[in-house]
Amino acid sequence: MTTTKPVRPGKPAVGGAATTASARRRRPVNTHRAATWLLAITSVAIGLLMLLPIIWMVFTAFKPESDIVSAPPTLWPRELTLEHFVEVWDRIPFARLYVNTIVFAGSVTIISLLFDSMAAYALARLPFKGRAVVMVLILLLLMLPFQVTLIPLYDMLNGMGLTNTLPGLIIPRMTNAFGIFFLTQFFLSLPKDLEEAARVDGASEWRIYWGIILPLSRPALLTLGLFHFQYNWNDLLWPLVMSSSVETSTLPAGLALFMGQHVVEYGLLMAGSLLAMLPVILFFLLIQRSFVAGIATTGLK
């Protein structure tokens, strides 16, 4: 605050005003510090409150079942056990669910990033006839709630024998209107110099896309990658509709189905839930910095 004052010595009138203002401000320095402390305590308390379900989930996963159901309920475990983490792999086809979810969310993320960015490259960097039509189509699809396609899509994939299979889950998700829109906006903001130089040197469009545009778009791709990954990893309705048993679904749908049948096994469900959420949380913590930067610098601003 005070450092900004000597930077502008040009106008004495402003300097005078600033000194009186800072004198006025300096008096309540103690209340200012107290306010900062209050702010910090409130914020941390809100943060902890927001985390409560997750913290509770972690503690409960390590509690023996007898502790979980004994009254009154406590946050802190009275006793620690790893039995739920051992048991969950046998009681639920958990390894199967895990593999399904990794394959589903992982391949959708990678394939969709590729196809989204290819389409966005054409829309942002290659002037061509029909661009406006394609752009309007993308924007229309952006507005479409996917629930409306659910029934015909299920019917169609069922007819092709793809329900209860991973390809059935993956194929309709291999490209995404939001991803195309997001990357188009980002590509439009990149400078043209590099690719024009490459074009003059005779580089193919694929080379420019793959070798210049994609490396420049790392933060945007990481951000969109997290969006795709968490959206599909977390999705409940789509795998719920597409799979008729726990074995063929993904973690959220599988756990929801299991909960519907065995509601009383709290510890087991919490251990399973915790393991199911871990990859997304880790992914987020790893790329947190570029994720927030990605939101700040791209179309979501």
Partner: protein, 313 residues
């Protein structure tokens, strides 16, 4: 630097310039369509076609076993006199009207708080954002347990201050909707907060300095500087939040399955029940089209806003 060397070379042969240029643009057009091919194939086959199909099905009595038979507007007229449709419609609107403003106001409040510099800020930001990235379907299991009348920690804490619903939070018709609403707010508030934070950081500090020199107090600075300069974010966040609330499903499916007495059944829950439990594909398609019209109107607002913003950039 390279352009100065190349420009004279490019200008050297003027006569044969036209034909290659035309060929270049045609080739570039072809390349563009090649780049778009996978995307367009998938979008047409798995989004556009199913949507048209959904519209067609909504005029039939298709139920997966029997072949589809055209019934005209029957499904839509049935909707109008169907108590469970109006119930779900009312629940969806109620959910949207409560959750949207609460989420937006809280997101702004959190952003204002966490835009100040203090120790613990990074923790609070991450903690508030974290619910957005975890699976609502999975974390709703924990919420259901926390609100359980026997083993639930939140139920227990609330009972300590004298708040005890007669049948447990999720099975009491008066409180079940409030419970799923709280989870809805909790899930998304962090994402909107991040959008607001990005907006706050783009406000020049000079504005505040100027307002301060003019003698504006904290509240005045907020009303006359912060809020107007965040109007873009507010519009974006409100529309995003409204559209998301109209599609509420996950925590409701896990925590209440639409109950008790259908008090928490939303439109998407109803589509799921009519479609995949009652197997009335035609009727469920008609319900889903009502949802489309709803979301479409709201999205047009958003689209208009985004396009206007693109121009001003």
């Amino acid at each position: 630097m390279t352009t100065t060397a190349e420009r004279p070379a490019a200008q050297l042969p003027p006569p044969p310039r036209r034909r290659p240029a035309l060929r270049v643009s045609a080739r570039r057009s072809l390349t563009a369509w090649l780049f778009l091919t996978p995307t367009l194939l998938i979008l047409v086959a798995f989004t556009v076609y199913p949507m048209v199909q959904a519209l067609y099905l909504s005029f039939t009595d298709y139920n997966l076993i029997r072949a589809a038979e055209w019934v005209g507007l029957d499904n839509y007229t049935e909707l109008l006199s169907d108590g469970s449709f109006w119930n779900a419609f009312g629940n969806t609107v109620l959910y949207a009207l409560v959750v949207t403003p609460v989420t937006v106001v809280l997101a702004l409040a959190f952003a204002l708080m966490l835009n100040q510099a203090f120790r613990g800020r990074a923790f609070a930001r991450t903690a508030i954002f974290l619910p957005f990235i975890v699976s609502l379907g999975i974390i709703a299991i924990a919420w259901a347990f926390l609100l359980d009348p026997n083993i639930g920690l939140i139920s227990h804490w609330l009972s300590l201050v004298g708040i005890v619903p007669e049948q447990g939070w999720l099975s009491d018709p008066r409180y079940a909707m409030a419970a799923v609403m709280i989870v809805g707010v909790w899930k998304n508030v962090g994402f909107y907060m991040v959008i607001y934070l990005a907006g706050l950081q783009s406000i020049p500090v000079d504005m505040y300095e100027a307002a301060r020199l003019d003698g504006a107090g904290v509240l005045q600075r907020f009303r006359n500087v912060t809020l107007p300069l965040l109007s873009n974010q507010t519009l974006l966040v409100s529309v995003l939040a409204l559209i998301a609330t109209l599609q509420a499903f996950d925590q409701i499916y896990v925590m209440t399955r639409g109950g008790p007495f259908f008090r928490t059944e939303t439109l998407v829950m109803l589509v799921y029940r009519e479609g995949f439990q009652e197997l009335r594909f035609g009727y469920a398609s008609a319900i889903s089209f009502v949802l489309v019209i709803f979301v479409f109107i709201l999205s047009m607002v958003q689209f208009g806003y985004l396009r206007r913003k693109q121009v001003t950039y």
